[in-house]
Symmetry: none
Subunit: 415 residues, 2 copies
């Protein structure tokens, strides 16, 4: 099945928003053997939307749009496409009732504003795609020749949910038994630079199990992605499994997970298995490590919390860091990282204490301790290990890398 | 001047690469008054490239492509478009010489491989766009009717350099001195829903000062963006200034900044002016508020730090929250939020203490306290205000919105 995607919005055309929906749609559809043959972006003007949809229908007869379904006057996707199909719009009372329920449930004052009713206007003969993550429903519209347009919202979370819940099942049913697919698997590494990783991989750096390999460096480390194309689902899965196994064997302990695995989640699972609880003491990361850990649902069975010891007074008052060490070794030093880890562990009564202290920049660097210098300490039931790294990048990158490295210190201690 | 952009590459259609070139081109061109009216993405197939370029030439006669200029067999942009224009390709000996020099300078063994010569094939009558950041030159091709295609490389760094060095000067010359521009300004609001904002804006919801208005809802609130098109730079700036003033007057205290302003930065500035320091006590946000504040360079002159009181034991031990209140009112309650704010303020000795406690989900909700329930308290030198909100969205969204709302509580107390 070949389809075209049209993403709609002035903000996309003007470059204010980078179009991540198109890439997400393409990956999800490719994984089930549906091919995007063309993609277009148009602004919030009815004629432009209609023209792009008409052209795409003439070529492939199968179109997914994103955006322009909301309650404001620049949301023109539905009327433009309904007119193209020669369908009138009418209020769907069950959607109106749902919008009113939500309005009340959110404790908003007064009746539902009339502008919101725009979202309940449904083209004659359309199928409604339920939005479980927002208010604007999606629309499936099909003509007598079997040509169709699926209209999804532009908000990425809503689009993703509706794609998975509503649209993919329809498309898979129409596509029939799966043909050739494009699938990929990713091996996630951290704590090793891209160039070192290439050396360690040797001939696998070019690919494994006949599949090409891509290096994708990011804040969290380097992802290794293998991609199988134009293969049956079974062949693709078998080649990917073999390739992943080869990569894992070569990269060893630098691998922390696969695909969308988050190192914070990996660490929580390791702690949960062992019944260990975590306390964090953060200076330069300012709460980022705590935020990463608590971003995972159910983290409360492992994470107690911790101290954001940004100022030295907090390091002393809440963590018991020695004033002498702060003065003599400086806030960014091994003894201070150690005392932060031990201090939070002791005060919270957790098995694990983590201390992070560093210079995130852009100011504050010295020749001895340049911007990017980070000391991290892990106190695991009284036994402490520390790491010292000079990270490169801007403030945000240094902080992200430091939080990831602290998580990796826990992972390595527990595996 | 209206143009269309065509980005070329299987990796874009398959979603493995997010298309950042299109957004960069749009912003750079809009700023000098050139408008992108449509954008398309096609794969690495000659027919698809030719068809998309032909359609765009028929519509606007002015096309920029990115990608498909490299030395490999899937780089088909040049031959496909040359054939469309009825031009033959021939080797440009000065480009060949340049490629050979570079090959030697990089210490590569043997003579330049024949595949690399593909980059030196230039369509008859084309103008070469020099690539100072890579090897593949760009191409400017124009027909007898003045319709043109500019072919840029796909590697973002090379594309950006060639756009600035080579293409923009050509386009500005063709656009003439009129210099109509597309410019925009954004008014950032928080604490008000998109639909309520539309009601409050009244007739301004459609636009202000003759400029159309876009509503851009996000985790941090709703951005209102006015865009001036087809105006002189002076007229655009005047209309935007007037429009922004009208929006600000109507939206009032919900406005926290403009364009790329970050509420955390706004709060830090307000505190700095008054010599106030901040301590945070976070439960459901788990460090996110601290991370937001300390993400801003120089935040150490305002932020002391705080306590991540994820577990109730931490709320008691480090913040002095009453066990009775925890038991009787629950961890997510007004008294606990108040005591968290007061507790962190007292222990850190700061003027401001902020407490956040809520249910981020997906588990933990009850009929009385559904997922999304958040209590926030601000203790400003002993005077406390609290807010209670039920946020919608997933765990990440609820936490982000709660952190943003806590920042806004500080902003409102100080303005």
């Amino acid at each position: 099945m070949n389809i075209e995607i049209i993403t709609i919005g002035d903000e996309l055309l003007l470059g204010f928003t980078i179009d991540t929906n198109a890439a997400h749609l393409a990956r999800e559809l490719a994984a089930v053997g549906i091919q995007i043959v063309r993609r277009a972006t148009v602004g919030d003007a009815a004629e432009g939307i209609a023209a792009a949809v008409r052209d795409a229908l003439d070529r492939t007869g199968a179109v997914i749009t994103t955006g322009g379904l909301g309650p404001t006057s620049d949301d023109l996707t539905k009327p433009a496409i309904a007119e193209l199909f020669g369908r009138s719009l009418s209020l769907d009372q069950s959607i109106v009732a749902g919008l009113e329920r939500l309005w009340k449930a959110r404790g908003r004052p007064g009746p539902l504003p009339a502008t919101n009713l725009q979202q309940a206007l449904i083209p004659q003969g359309a199928r409604v795609l339920v939005n479980r993550h927002g208010t604007a429903p999606g629309i499936w519209l099909e003509d007598e020749r079997g040509r169709w347009v699926a209209m999804l919202p532009g908000v990425p979370r809503e689009m993703r949910g509706m794609l998975a819940d509503e649209l993919l099942p329809i498309l898979q049913e129409r596509a029939g038994p799966a043909g050739h697919v494009v699938r990929s698997r990713t091996v996630r590494t951290t704590g090793i630079a891209e160039s070192q990783l290439a050396v360690q991989l040797g001939e696998l750096a070019r690919g494994a199990a006949g599949l090409p390999l891509a290096f994708l460096p990011g804040f969290d480390g380097v992802d290794l992605r293998l991609t199988a194309r134009d293969m049956s689902p079974a062949d693709a899965d078998a080649a990917l499994a073999s390739g992943v196994e080869q990569l894992r064997a070569r990269v060893g302990r630098f691998v922390y997970g696969e695909d969308t695995d988050d190192l914070a989640d990996v660490v929580l699972r390791l702690c949960r298995e062992r019944g260990l609880r975590i306390g964090v003491a953060e200076s330069c990361t300012g709460g980022m490590l705590g935020a990463r850990l608590t971003a995972i649902p159910g983290s409360s069975d492992v994470v107690d919390g911790g101290v954001i010891a940004y100022d030295n007074r907090v390091k002393q008052a809440l963590l018991g860091v020695s004033e002498t060490d702060l003065r003599e070794s400086g806030a960014v030093s091994e003894p201070v990282a150690r005392q932060m880890a031990a201090g939070v562990r002791e005060r919270l009564g957790t098995a694990i204490g983590v201390g992070i202290t560093g210079i995130a920049g852009p100011g504050g660097g010295t020749p001895e301790k340049p911007v990017g210098t980070v000391w991290t300490a892990l106190d695991l039931e009284g036994s402490t290990r520390t790491t010292h790294t000079i990270w490169f990048g801007d403030r945000d990158e240094i902080r992200r890398r430091a939080a990831q490295a602290a998580l990796d210190l826990i992972r390595r201690a527990l595996t």
